[in-house]
């Protein structure tokens, strides 16, 4: 049983991260041990908070306010107006959170949104995003993104590329690794002893016997058969349009999709607010809310904390089974 708290990174101080942290504490109170890693001066004025010296003080602080492990930034936060001067420390907070979880002083990392462009401009950030940076910090080659909602877990095998590039980006190696990492994550981090994975077809009707595309027949189905023979509980390729209704969902623990929207349409249509991003393949648990910095509404107090709260809850739950 891991009784360390979850570390929540502040994300871009000009985004909705700080105000969502405050709202999450107001909602969760002492019920879920987490602390914010960031600059207390970036919190919305009047936010009840307690500056802590060590993550171990989280539980005692939670009853009085949002526990904040202080990481001073050079510039104040102006909601909606990201400051390049703060970019370096936005990145440093992520690295510090990883160090805390790797040393066992935090049980899991939950990350608030960053803006890639701000980090490139202000700190020469060389990674395509959070996930790749975390993988580099952990010394891991390949990770996968899962979106987990109460009713559905999906993993897109390809992510932020044009749809026209999906067929060529999708390779047997990539799909095999995606399935393997997903299966391992379900087992180790979700506590599912014998994970069942359903793989979507690439083409409509999963190619309909080759009439609507050949990828299923030439390599996707053979790869799945090969993995079945090795003992993996993997099925498919399933027609993507009939694998996400309730009866079909009951037959698997996670769906592996071929492209971003094939995974995101079902999960957002089913559970728009409660989808949480989970990075599988890291040596620690990392979750994040399923939205961006929302500079357009930052500071107005209207940002919806549901996804961040779900991300904190999931990070906590996933480390109970570890």
């Amino acid at each position: 049983m891991n009784d360390a708290p979850v570390v929540l990174t502040c994300g871009d101080p000009a985004g909705i991260g700080p105000e969502l942290a405050a709202k999450a504490w107001a909602e969760l109170g002492a019920g879920l041990p987490f602390f914010l890693l960031g600059d207390p001066a970036h919190l919305p004025p009047g936010t009840p908070h307690v500056v802590i010296e060590d993550p171990a003080q989280t539980a005692a602080a939670l009853t009085r306010g949002l526990p904040v492990l202080a990481h001073p930034f050079p510039a104040p936060a102006r909601p909606g107006h990201p400051d390049p001067a703060n970019a370096g420390d936005t990145v440093a907070v992520i690295a510090r959170a990883v160090a805390l979880v790797q040393s066992g002083r935090a049980r899991a990392v939950c990350t608030a949104p960053i803006s890639k462009q701000v980090l490139i401009d202000g700190a020469g950030f060389a990674y395509p995003g959070h996930t790749e940076y975390l993988a580099a910090l952990a010394g891991v080659e390949r990770v996968v993104m899962m979106i987990a909602a109460p009713d559905l877990r999906v993993v897109p095998a390809t992510i932020h590329i044009p749809l026209s590039q999906v067929p060529s980006a999708l390779t047997p190696d990539l799909l095999r690794d995606t399935i393997r990492i997903t299966e391992d994550g379900l087992r180790r981090q979700f506590g599912i002893a014998a994970p069942r994975i359903a793989v979507a077809g690439l083409n409509p009707h999963a190619g309909e016997g080759g009439k609507l595309g050949h990828e299923e027949g030439t390599w996707i189905a053979p790869l799945i058969r090969e993995m079945q023979a090795e003992g993996h509980a993997v099925t498919g390729p399933h027609p993507a349009d009939t694998m996400f209704h309730a009866a079909a969902r009951a037959r698997y623990d996670a769906a592996v999709a071929m492209y971003h929207d094939q995974a995101l349409i079902p999960v957002k249509t089913l559970d728009f607010d409660r989808g949480v991003n989970v990075t599988l393949g890291l040596p620690f648990v990392r979750t994040s809310p399923d939205h961006g910095t929302a500079f357009d509404i930052a500071g107005e107090g209207i940002a919806n904390p549901t996804s961040l709260i779900e991300a904190l809850r999931l990070a906590h739950r996933m480390t109970q089974t570890a």
């Binding site: 044009p162 749809l163 409509p204 094939q262 349409i265």
Partner: protein, 338 residues
């Protein structure tokens, strides 16, 4: 003065499937006869088979073709397309396919002659239709060919108050991006607009889904949004149409669910079908849109696994009927005005 109540022609679909049972249930459902005059087009024993499967009464009254409509209630146009002992429940048969096609042909004849204002068909079995000699790619193209109709037409998928149409359909994902053209997008928008107007929406609100993740994120993940979709959408807006987008496709269906738009124009098959089948597997309706006559059918298939067992759910057929009544009412009024 003619009645404003539409006359709806109904054919059973494949007699081996759940179509006859569903139509028997429909005819016994509340409000159906108040909404339309109904013409059953098909073999008497097939209709009786459906009633027996459903355990419901059925009164077949045949009348001369010139007496159809005008509030005569349910009438029957007798057909002789299949021998009673040739009906094999839950089997793909050439005889079942022939029955399906001949009834469809007759319904199309009656529609062309202005005897009926719309057609509802029970589920067809594609393999049976092919075995019976249908040489079109699907029933929609068959209908267009039969009617000699050369205009733009296509399938629309409907769930409750959400309608979707698509720019590309049954092609490999690899082919999709190359087939997204300004002309194709305009036609898909037009098909949604025309169908919604026929269904009674005076000013349809149409959302266009993006092709790429995050709608391309300003060109970072694909340029089709900038190069093709945005100009088409702006042109539609310039013509005072309520067309918006391109919207990221993972959240565009929420707009329809929340009632903010009436239709979503999708770029490829699974984009819309994932959302629709996820939300209402048992209530989905397919519209054969753009044709000279309103035609709807339940979105599900012949369901051989439950055929003949009185387990078929009426939901999709009822929804197909209700939508058809709205479309056929407009069609009838337009015909009367012409």
């Amino acid at each position: 003065m003619t009645s404003t109540k539409p006359t709806i022609g109904i054919i059973p679909g494949d007699p081996s499937g759940i179509g006859p049972e569903l139509i028997a249930k429909l005819l016994n459902a509340e409000g159906v006869h108040e909404a339309a005059d109904i013409v059953l087009i098909g073999d008497g024993h097939v209709w009786e088979q459906g009633a027996a499967q459903a355990g419901l009464p059925l009164d077949l009254v045949s009348v001369a073709q010139d007496r159809i409509g005008g509030s005569h209630g349910v009438v029957w146009v007798p057909m002789d397309t299949i021998a009673p002992d040739a009906v094999e429940i839950a089997r793909v048969t050439e005889a079942g396919g022939r029955c399906s096609l001949r009834c469809l042909d007759k319904a199309l004849d009656l529609a062309r002659d202005g005897v009926i204002d719309g057609i509802l068909f029970g589920p067809f079995n594609k393999a049976a239709l092919t075995a019976a000699g249908m040489n079109a790619e699907d029933e929609h193209r068959y209908i267009a060919q039969y009617l000699g109709f050369g205009g733009h037409h296509g399938e629309l998928n409907v769930l409750d108050e959400m309608m979707t149409t698509r720019v590309t359909s049954h092609i490999g994902l690899r082919e999709v991006a190359g087939n997204i053209t300004a002309e194709g997008v305009s036609k898909a928008i037009g098909l949604a607009e025309d169908t919604l107007k026929q269904a009674g929406k005076a000013r349809p609100r149409i959302a266009v889904a993006a092709l790429n993740p995050h709608a391309g994120d300003n060109g970072k993940f694909g340029r089709e949004e900038i190069d093709i979709l945005e100009p088409v959408i702006r042109a539609a807006q310039d013509r005072q149409k309520d067309v918006t987008g391109p919207w990221p496709s993972d959240t565009v269906f929420l707009k329809a669910i929340r009632g903010e738009v009436d239709a979503v124009v999708t770029m490829y098959h699974d984009q819309g079908q994932i959302a629709i089948k996820l939300l209402g597997f048992e209530r989905g309706v397919t519209v054969a849109g753009g044709l000279p006559i309103p035609i709807t059918t339940p979105a599900h298939g012949t369901a051989f696994d439950i055929a003949g067992q009185n387990r078929a759910n009426l939901g999709a057929t009822r929804a197909a009927f209700d939508l058809l009544v709205r479309m056929a009412t407009t069609h009838r009024a337009n015909r009367a005005a012409a």
